[in-house]
C-alpha cells in the first residue's frame, strides 16, 4: 500500500501544512486527515516539535469519524500522557465514548468537566450532540435554546438550532399542504407523525400550525445569523428557502428579496438564482396580486431565466458531460409561460 508521500509526491512539511490548513478551515475531510495524519505521526513525529499535540487531537477526531478506534486510542493515550488532568483531553475521551455509542458514560464524562468548570461550552455542546445522536431532537432543541440564552453569540449553535427546527417536523410546509388539499378535493391531509393518514380540515389544522411554527423558529435563528454575518450569502439563501417553504404571499415576497440579496453577495449562487426565479414566478402567477406587482415579478423571473440560461451555456462549453442537465433546464424554463 503506497504511502501518501509516495502517491502524491509531497514532503512531510507539506503534509503538516495541509493539516494546518484543514484545521484552520475546519474541514471535515476525515478520511484524508487520517491518511495524512497517520503517516505523519508514524514516520515523522520527531520532526514535528510541539505541533504534534494539536495534530494528535485533529487526527483523533478524524479517526473517530472513520471508525478507526485503534488510531483514536493511540492519539488519546499520547495526549493523556502529555496533559494529565486536562479538560480538553477529557472532552476527547468523551467523544471517543460517543463514537462507541456509550452515551451514558460519555455524558458522565462531560458532567464531570462541567462540575469543575460550569462555563465549559464544549462539554455542554457535546451533551446536546448526544441527544441529537439518540434521536431526541425535542430535548436537544430545548437544551440548545437554554444554552443560547447564556451564550448568545455562538454562531455554530444558532446554525445547529436552525437545522434542528427544520428537520423536526418536516412537512414541506404550506405549499405542500395546499397541493395535497387540491388533490383531496379541498380538504387538507396532514402527514405529520401524529396524524398520518387522517384528514384534517385546513381551518382546524392545529398540527399544521405547529409545523409552520417550527419553520418560523428556524427563520428566527437564521435572522440572528444574518445580523451578525451580513456578508454571508449562504445564510441569506437558507433564510429565503425557509420563507419559501412557509408559503403564503408575504413569505414568498420575503423569500424573493432574500434570494436576490444572496445573489448580490455572491452572483454565482445557483440555488439563489433558481430560488429567485421560482419565487418571482409563483408571485406573478398568484391571483391575489395586482397588475403592477405581477409585471414586476415577471420581469424578475425573466431576468433570472436569462441568467440561468447564460450560466448553463457557460458551464456546457467544452464538456459533453452535462448536456443532459442543460437541456433539462432549458425545457423547464420554457415550459413555464409568463403571460
Amino acid at each position: 500500500m503506497a504511502s501518501v508521500s509516495e502517491m502524491y509526491d509531497v514532503t512531510w512539511e507539506e503534509m503538516r501544512d495541509k493539516l494546518r490548513k484543514w484545521r484552520e478551515d475546519n474541514h471535515r475531510n476525515s478520511e484524508q486527515i487520517v491518511d495524512v495524519g497517520e503517516e505523519l505521526i508514524n514516520e515523522h513525529a520527531s520532526k514535528l516539535g510541539d505541533d504534534i499535540w494539536i495534530i494528535y487531537e485533529q487526527v483523533m477526531i478524524a479517526a473517530l469519524d472513520c471508525s478507526r478506534d485503534d488510531l483514536a486510542w493511540t492519539c488519546l493515550q499520547e495526549l493523556k500522557r502529555q496533559f494529565p488532568g486536562s479538560q480538553r483531553v477529557k472532552r476527547l475521551a468523551g467523544m471517543r465514548l460517543e463514537a462507541l455509542e456509550k452515551y451514558e458514560d460519555a455524558s458522565k464524562q462531560y458532567d464531570s468537566i462541567l462540575q469543575d468548570d460550569p462555563t465549559n461550552t464544549a462539554a455542554r455542546k457535546r451533551k446536546i450532540s448526544i441527544l441529537k445522536a439518540q434521536g431526541k431532537s425535542a430535548e436537544a432543541i430545548r437544551e440548545l435554546n437554554e444554552y443560547l440564552e447564556q451564550f448568545v453569540g455562538d454562531q455554530e449553535a444558532w446554525h445547529e438550532l436552525s437545522e434542528l427546527y427544520i428537520n423536526e417536523h418536516d412537512c414541506l410546509g404550506d405549499l405542500g399542504v395546499r397541493e395535497a388539499a387540491v388533490f383531496h378535493g379541498g380538504v387538507c391531509v396532514c402527514v405529520c407523525k401524529q396524524h398520518t393518514g387522517s384528514v384534517v380540515t385546513l381551518a382546524g389544522g392545529q398540527c399544521l400550525q405547529e409545523c409552520l411554527a417550527r419553520y418560523g423558529k428556524a427563520a428566527f435563528c437564521l435572522e440572528e445569523l444574518m445580523m451578525t454575518n451580513p456578508h454571508n450569502h449562504l445564510y441569506c439563501e437558507q433564510y429565503a428557502e425557509v420563507k419559501y417553504t412557509q408559503g403564503g404571499l408575504e413569505n414568498l415576497e420575503l423569500s424573493r428579496k432574500y434570494f436576490a440579496q444572496a445573489l448580490k453577495l455572491n452572483n454565482r449562487n445557483m440555488r439563489a438564482l433558481f430560488g429567485l426565479y421560482m419565487s418571482a414566478s409563483h408571485i406573478a402567477a398568484s391571483p391575489k396580486v395586482n397588475a403592477t406587482v405581477k409585471k414586476a415579478n415577471v420581469k424578475y423571473a425573466t431576468w433570472a431565466t436569462n441568467q440561468i440560461n447564460r450560466a448553463y451555456q457557460l458551464a456546457g462549453r467544452g464538456t459533453k458531460e452535462n448536456k443532459c442537465s442543460v437541456k433539462a433546464v432549458e425545457e423547464m424554463l420554457e415550459s413555464i409561460t409568463m403571460s
Binding site: 445522536a133 434521536g135 427544520i166 428537520n167 417536523h169 418536516d170 412537512c171 414541506l172 410546509g173 405549499l175 405542500g176 397541493e179 395535497a180 388533490f183 391531509v189 402527514v191 405529520c192 407523525k193 398520518t196 393518514g197 437558507q238 429565503a240 428557502e241 425557509v242 419559501y244 417553504t245 408559503g247 423569500s255 445557483m270 440555488r271 433558481f274 430560488g275 421560482m278 419565487s279 450560466a311 448553463y312 458551464a315 464538456t319 458531460e321 452535462n322 443532459c324 442537465s325 437541456k327 433539462a328 433546464v329 425545457e331 423547464m332 415550459s335
Partner: protein, 212 residues
C-alpha cells in the same frame, strides 16, 4: 400488490449516495424505462439531496428537472428513496411521505424505499432496504417476496468495489450539481463504470474470488 424489480444500477447508485454522505440524510428518485402496467422495474435512480431535505424550493426544482429529463429520455418517475442520518431510525419522515404521495399521483404502483443504514455492511446477506407501497391512502410495508433484486451478490460486490477504489466520489447528486453546474446529475460516467463492472467477464472473476 404488484412485483417490484430493482436493477443493479439503481441499487448501486442509491447505496453509494448513502455512503458518500454518511452524516446526512439523503434522498433521490427511482426511475423506470419500462412502460407502465405490470411489474414495476426500477432501472435507474437520480440522487437528489444531502441537505435540508424538508425545505421546498430545491426539492421542487429537482423534481421538475428530473421530470423534464425523464420525458426527454422515455423514463418515468416510479418511486422515491431516502436514507436517514440517524442510523437507528429508518422510518419514512413526513417529507418522504409527501414526495412519495406526489409521485403516486402520476404513477399508481409507486414505491417508497427506505435504506436501512444500520444494515449497510460489505457482507450483508440481504439488501438493506425497506419498501413501502400505497394501499388506499396509506403507505404500508411491502411483502418482501414481491421485491426482486436479481444477482444480489454480484450487485453487492460491484458496490463494494466502487467503494474500495474510491470511485463512489464520482457520484453527483442534485445538491452537488447546484454547487458546481458542470457536474452531471445524470451520472453518465458512473453509469458506464457500473455497466463495465457488471459485464459477465468481470462477474466471473469476482465470484471465484468470493468463493475462495
Amino acid at each position: 400488490m404488484g412485483e417490484v424489480e430493482l436493477s443493479c444500477l439503481a441499487y448501486v447508485k442509491m447505496y453509494l449516495h448513502g455512503c458518500l454522505f454518511p452524516r446526512c440524510s439523503v434522498n433521490g428518485l427511482l426511475l423506470s424505462s419500462s412502460p407502465a402496467g405490470g411489474a414495476v422495474c426500477v432501472t435507474d435512480c437520480v440522487p437528489l439531496l444531502h441537505s435540508h431535505l424538508p425545505l421546498a424550493p430545491i426539492t421542487q426544482l429537482g423534481l421538475t428537472q428530473v421530470d423534464v429529463w425523464c420525458a426527454q429520455t422515455q423514463q418515468r418517475i416510479v418511486g422515491y428513496y431516502q436514507a436517514n442520518a440517524c442510523v437507528s431510525d429508518n422510518s419514512p419522515t413526513p417529507c418522504a411521505l409527501k414526495i412519495a404521495d406526489k409521485i403516486a399521483e402520476q404513477c399508481n404502483n409507486a414505491v417508497l424505499l427506505m435504506i436501512d443504514g444500520g444494515k449497510m455492511s460489505p457482507d450483508y446477506r440481504v439488501p438493506p432496504i425497506v419498501m413501502y407501497e400505497r394501499k388506499d391512502t396509506r403507505w404500508t410495508l411491502k411483502d418482501k417476496h414481491t421485491i426482486m433484486l436479481r444477482q444480489w451478490e454480484e450487485t453487492r460486490e460491484i458496490a463494494n468495489q466502487l467503494l474500495d477504489s474510491g470511485d463512489h466520489s464520482l457520484l453527483v447528486d442534485f445538491d452537488s450539481h447546484l454547487d458546481d453546474i458542470t457536474r452531471d446529475w445524470t451520472n453518465q460516467k458512473l453509469n458506464a463504470k457500473i455497466a463495465e463492472l457488471a459485464s459477465p467477464a468481470n462477474v466471473c472473476t469476482w465470484m471465484s474470488r468470493v468463493e475462495k
